[in-house]
């Protein structure tokens, strides 16, 4: 099962976990076969929220939610179950300063035809 680990940090802690440590964490997860992809993010002042209401696209400045902690990056990981996902997430360096939100991913519920068409080269 795939889990998305969302890294949340407050602006004061933004640079507390050095990039080298995060890179090493990703490499370790890759070596053990748990890492799928991941990336750090720019702070929320660079964020734009997109919504579509009644067919109209509205774009607003800023992140979706105003909280003290901001989304700082993510790791997409492969884990057997939530317990393994929690264990892996607890090793992500910013877990010490902010919080890691662990979300199970899900498959899009589409017909076999559409899935086959999407998979075709």
């Amino acid at each position: 099962m795939k889990y998305l680990c969302l890294v949340y940090l407050s602006p004061e802690e933004w640079t507390s976990a050095p990039d080298e440590a995060c890179m090493a964490c990703g490499n370790e997860m890759r070596a053990s076969g748990h890492f799928i992809t991941g990336t750090p993010l720019h702070p929320t002042h660079t964020a734009t929220t997109v919504r579509v209401r009644n067919g109209r696209v509205t774009v607003t400045d800023g992140p979706f939610a105003e909280t003290k902690e901001q989304l700082a990056g993510f790791y997409l990981i492969e884990a057997r179950d939530l317990n393994e996902a929690i264990q892996l997430a607890s090793k992500i360096p910013p877990a010490k300063f902010g919080s890691i939100e662990v979300r199970p991913t899900r498959e899009l519920q589409v017909s076999t035809q559409q899935a086959a068409a999407a998979a075709a080269p």
């Binding site: 099962m1 179950d81 939530l82 317990n83 929690i86 264990q87 662990v102 199970p104 519920q109 017909s111």
Partner: protein, 411 residues
């Protein structure tokens, strides 16, 4: 005769069978359905074929067979639907267990799943009572004075999270165990306290909750003999030993120093004290074991005056160091009053009250009132009683404080 035997097995073993069926079928709903199918099959077959050699194993196999059979039939009808069957993949292919130990392991798996810290705390409690203890949603609702649909929704949401986030059906590994066990013990103690406190609800239902909590703790201690599990079981047994003496027949509160100690349940006290000693011998002390030790000192004292208050103050010091909390500090102040007199206790209590955290805690003001009353500082006592009454919502506790205040006003 067979019917009453089936009845007995249902009462005694249905939750264990259910726990094993969850592992075998990989799904709560299917397991619940399979459990009912299994007992229906027993009612049909046992009267003519006789009791099987191992009824529990028979019921597990029957439930599993019926469920898999039903899934196959459903799939035949729904072959046009192209979603793969998830539960087939989750289901454990191992044969149905036929020894008791394996069944108990399944119950423990269920406990750890229901008390998983990824679930909301109130959902952990509701799910444990529903799935592990087998209480009906309405019974849980009555005990917690919460509408049944609210409880039902909590349970549905928790099950959806278990399924969607793939919370595993397993006893945690050794390195996760201490933290996860803490979560389980917290749920057990919450259930017990809900049953023990006289705050609200029908008293019969509530005694049942305490009984369920004690049964759960016994199961945990048997399978995971960790000191804190022993400590919690001891603490609950020691509280339980005093249940009958805490109130008059018409519901008036009786404080510890005025309880009829001859009516305390000696068997429960002996068991609680033995467990407390075992927990202390482990040298890995936790807050439940220390609270159990405090309860044991009270339980073994012939009267309030003849209680080893030095020992109790020492245990509170230890507890306070391990889990600093203003409420524990308040209890320590009461113990100091018993050891050194109300003047010493009041000094400690006033320093605590000055910190502000206990300002809205009725027991802090009730204690201050009591200390002042003993010191003959009546007007201060009256003021503290009034503040305590203001903060108390439980009727018996209010009546108790009002009586004390009235006695003071007369003199």
């Amino acid at each position: 005769m067979v019917a009453s035997e089936i009845d007995r097995i249902y009462r005694q073993d249905s939750r264990r069978i259910f726990a094993t069926l969850i592992r075998l079928l990989g799904d709560f709903e299917r397991a619940e359905e399979a459990l009912h199918e299994a007992f229906r099959a027993a009612v049909e077959k046992w009267p003519t074929e006789g009791l099987p050699q191992n009824p529990v194993a028979w019921l597990v196999s029957a439930g599993r067979f019926k469920s898999i059979d039903k899934q196959r039939r459903e799939q035949r009808f729904e072959h046009l639907e192209d979603r793969p069957d998830v539960s087939e993949a989750l289901a454990d292919q191992a044969p149905a267990p036929d020894d008791v130990e394996e069944l108990e392991d399944d119950r423990l798996r269920l406990v750890f799943t229901c008390c998983h810290p990824a679930l909301a705390p109130d959902a952990q409690v509701a799910l444990t009572l529903r799935e592990v203890c087998g209480l009906a949603t309405e019974e849980i609702a009555a005990a917690y004075l919460t509408p049944a649909p609210t409880i039902a929704q909590r349970i549905v949401r928790a099950k959806a999270k278990i399924r969607d986030a793939n919370i595993p059906y397993q006893v945690p590994s050794r390195d996760e165990l201490p933290e996860r066990l803490e979560s389980v013990l917290r749920v057990v103690y919450l259930v017990f306290n809900e049953g023990y406190s006289a705050s609200s609800g029908d008293s019969a239902t509530r005694a049942d909750l305490s009984g369920e909590a004690i049964r759960l703790a016994r199961l945990i201690v048997e399978l995971i003999p960790e000191p804190e599990a022993q400590g919690l079981l001891a603490l609950m047994l020691l509280h339980e030993s005093r249940r009958e003496t805490r109130a008059t027949p018409d519901g008036e509160l009786i404080l510890l120093d005025e309880q009829d100690r001859s009516r305390w349940n000696r068997a429960l006290i002996a068991e609680g004290a033995t467990l407390t000693r075992a927990a202390f011998e482990s040298q890995r002390l936790g807050p439940y074991s220390i609270q159990a030790a405090i309860a044991a000192v009270h339980a073994e004292a012939p009267s309030a005056a003849d209680t080893d208050w030095r020992e109790i103050v020492g245990l509170y010091d230890l507890l306070l160091r391990l889990t600093p909390s203003p409420v524990i500090a308040l209890n320590r102040a009461v113990a100091i009053t018993m050891r050194d007199g109300p003047e010493a206790g009041l000094t400690v209590l006033d320093a605590l009250l000055a910190e502000g955290e206990l300002d809205n805690y009725q027991l802090a003001h009730a204690a201050r009132a009591d200390f002042c009353r003993r010191l003959g500082r009546d007007s201060e006592a009256r003021e503290a009683y009034r503040r305590a009454i203001e903060l108390t919502s439980q009727a018996p506790a209010r009546r108790f404080l009002e009586k004390r205040l009235a006695a003071l006003s007369k003199s």
